[in-house]
């Protein structure tokens, strides 16, 4: 049994809005081991980003979070602000989707990188600057000394995302949470960022939680995959197992929606019919039922619980299977 770095148990998140409560995440559980890359996959609005943000208490005040988030032996849910601050950016750090807006437009790159180093490490300004230079070099930003004195708008999207990664790695964190890190970038730039994340895991041994709606990205990088649907875990398995033997009809649908060369000749890309359900109310049945070709009476009357159908492969479906 390997040690667990991050253990999320029964995490539920509810937002109180003017139109009533929205159940964004329902009893979500995750574990992350050191050096592991965990992919969380799902459509927009399935609760994957909310899950990640709730780990560090970064959700707005309208959110009510229950369950447990155990990091390295300490509970983070309900932890004091000062304790959370020591974990944020130091032990667990974030890379967000939008490199264009995630950096502060009015401060130089160097200052934004220095800032996190000085916040968490007991170093002088000069040492922080030297470390910042080292970090920009680590994420392969050309001419790093000059870049430190530039503003975010002077950098391309890919470069800004590299700066975000450099900032996230500044204090040598144990976990890097990358929330759609390549979604806003050109395809050629995406590959570079994914290569960089792979390199980070290999060279620094940082565990990575990779949130994406792109199964291709997961196949490329992750060790283990969690598929989320409507705030719940639909399926979880090691990456090869999931791609070889997908069990949940939703996962199979997602895989069918990935374009493949050659496959296009015999027809259109498959799409999953219907829409993601509203999360205003937790349904008393399988949330995927109205889009599912396998749905029957049971799907419409009970909520499927997660169960292991193959070795180390769990699925929340009454009718799992590859076809």
């Amino acid at each position: 049994m390997t040690e667990t770095l991050l253990d999320v148990r029964d995490l539920s998140v509810r937002f109180d809005t003017d139109d009533g409560a929205v159940h964004a995440v329902d009893r979500m559980s995750l574990t992350l081991e050191p050096r592991q890359v965990l992919g969380i996959v799902g459509e927009s609005g399935c609760g994957k980003s909310v899950t990640a943000l709730s780990i560090l208490g970064l959700l707005p005040k309208t959110a009510t979070v229950t369950g447990s988030v155990n990091f390295d032996g300490t509970e983070l849910l309900g932890a004091s602000k000062s304790h959370l601050r020591k974990v944020r950016g130091r032990q667990i750090s974030f890379v967000f989707q939008e490199p264009m807006t995630s950096l502060n437009p009015v401060f130089r790159i160097g200052r934004q990188v220095d800032e996190v180093i000085q916040e968490h490490m007991n170093v002088s300004k000069r040492e922080a600057r030297a470390r910042a230079l080292e970090l920009l070099d680590l994420v392969h930003i050309p001419d790093p000394a000059r870049r430190l004195d530039e503003y975010p708008h002077q950098l391309s999207g890919g470069m800004r995302q590299r700066v975000m990664i450099a900032m996230a790695l500044a204090c040598d964190p144990k976990i890097l949470i990358a929330d759609e890190p390549t979604t806003a970038l050109d395809v050629t730039i995406q590959a570079g960022i994914l290569d960089l994340l792979r390199e980070v895991r290999e060279r620094l041994g940082t565990a990575i939680v990779l949130i994406t709606h792109n199964l291709g990205v997961v196949a490329d990088l992750a060790d283990r995959v969690v598929v989320m649907y409507a705030g719940r875990k639909a399926e979880e398995a090691p990456v090869h197992e999931l791609f070889a033997h997908p069990q949940h009809p939703y996962t199979i649908g997602l895989l069918g929606a990935v374009p493949r060369a050659g496959a296009a000749r015999n027809g259109r890309l498959q799409e999953i019919p219907g829409r993601v359900p509203s999360l205003a109310e937790l349904p008393g049945h399988c949330a995927f039922a109205d889009r599912c070709p396998r749905a029957d009476e049971q799907s419409w009357s009970e909520v499927p619980e997660l169960r292991e159908v193959r070795r180390d492969h769990a699925v929340a479906c009454f009718h799992p299977g590859e076809q």
Binding site: R85, G89, F94, E98, L103, N104, Y151
Partner: protein, 317 residues
């Protein structure tokens, strides 16, 4: 940065030129004969003709304009109906108004920005509602009413502050500030209310921005998230508003000086209009226009210091 300022200064010069033309034409468009104003009770055509001759009033307008500007550039704005040099009168009155508007601006920005930040950070709480309501009140209250109310309360009833008058700062700094405090508060109230509302909405925008989420995820303290990351971005909007509010401040000074019996620039403007003193009016309005342009130039420079995107856009091309 140097090129940026130079470009802005060039634009400012053009504005000053246009303003001087407007002032000149505007004053002449006012009904009434300037010669009559100078001559006062004397309606003898011979006297009026002499006056026209002496002041060059019978020359074509462009000639008069060029002469006026030429002299103005040398610091000579002509003489008023009392025979006093306009430039000298203006120079003696300007410090009063400068001090008043400076203090009003100081009070307005400090209160407005602080209240706006607090309201935004404590959005939806009692302090937010309190600040927003007080700001609405501050916006609705007319200068003269607030001024009279303050005089009644603090000068007449409590006897804490003098009701009117002015003591030069060099003579007695404490007395000077005592005299200036109430007028500055009256004049600064409107500004602080406007700034509070602007600051609140700018801060709410900034606090919801992605870079604030990044700052939070970096483990920074709330103080540095609000006071550095969010504030700096919000100041971009608010600086622009301060520049725009300057016009309101100058016209507000006219009323405020009237209420508190301060013989400043505002009083001078009112008097010059009332007495149809063309040379004086021309000079006064020109100086206000130039002052307005200078302050806006300063605002532009401050704006570019706060917002690096402006600076680069200006220099890279």
């Amino acid at each position: 940065m140097g090129a940026f300022i130079l470009r802005k200064a060039g634009a400012a010069l053009i504005v000053v030129f246009l303003a001087s033309v407007l002032v000149f034409v505007g004053v002449r468009a006012i009904p009434g004969d300037p010669a009559l104003a100078y001559a006062a009770e004397d309606r003898d055509p011979k006297v009026l003709a002499d006056i026209r001759e002496k002041y060059g009033l019978d020359d074509p307008l462009p000639v008069q304009y060029v002469r006026w500007v030429g002299l103005a550039l040398q610091g000579d704005l002509g003489t008023d109906t009392r025979g006093l040099p306009v430039a000298e009168t203006i120079v003696t009155r300007i410090p009063l108004t400068l001090e008043l508007t400076f203090l009003a601006m100081l009070i307005g920005t400090v209160i407005g920005i602080t209240a706006g930040v607090i309201a935004a950070v404590r959005r939806g709480k009692a302090s937010d509602y309190a600040a927003t309501s007080v700001a609405l009140l501050g916006l609705s209250v007319p200068h003269f009413w607030l001024g009279l109310l303050m005089i009644i309360v603090f000068a007449v009833n409590l006897n804490w502050l003098p009701a009117s008058g002015y003591v030069p700062f060099r003579e007695d700094p404490v007395e000077n500030l005592k005299h200036m405090l109430m007028p500055a508060i009256v004049l600064g109230t409107g500004l602080s209310a406007v700034l509070m509302r602007q600051m609140r909405s700018a801060m709410l925008d900034s606090l919801g921005a992605d870079y604030v989420r990044t700052a939070r995820a970096k483990g920074l303290s709330e103080w540095s998230i609000v006071g550095r990351h969010a504030l700096r971005n919000s100041l971009i909007t608010v600086t622009t508003v301060i520049g725009l509010q300057l016009g309101a401040l100058i016209s507000g000074a006219v009323v405020t000086e009237q209420i508190f019996g301060i013989a400043g620039f505002g009083r001078l403007t009112v008097d010059s209009i009332a007495q149809r003193d063309y040379a004086l009016l021309q000079g006064v309005v020109l100086v206000v226009a130039v002052g307005y342009v200078i302050v806006n130039l300063l605002v532009d420079v401050a704006y570019s210091l706060i917002n690096p995107r402006i600076r680069v856009a200006g220099t890279s091309n």
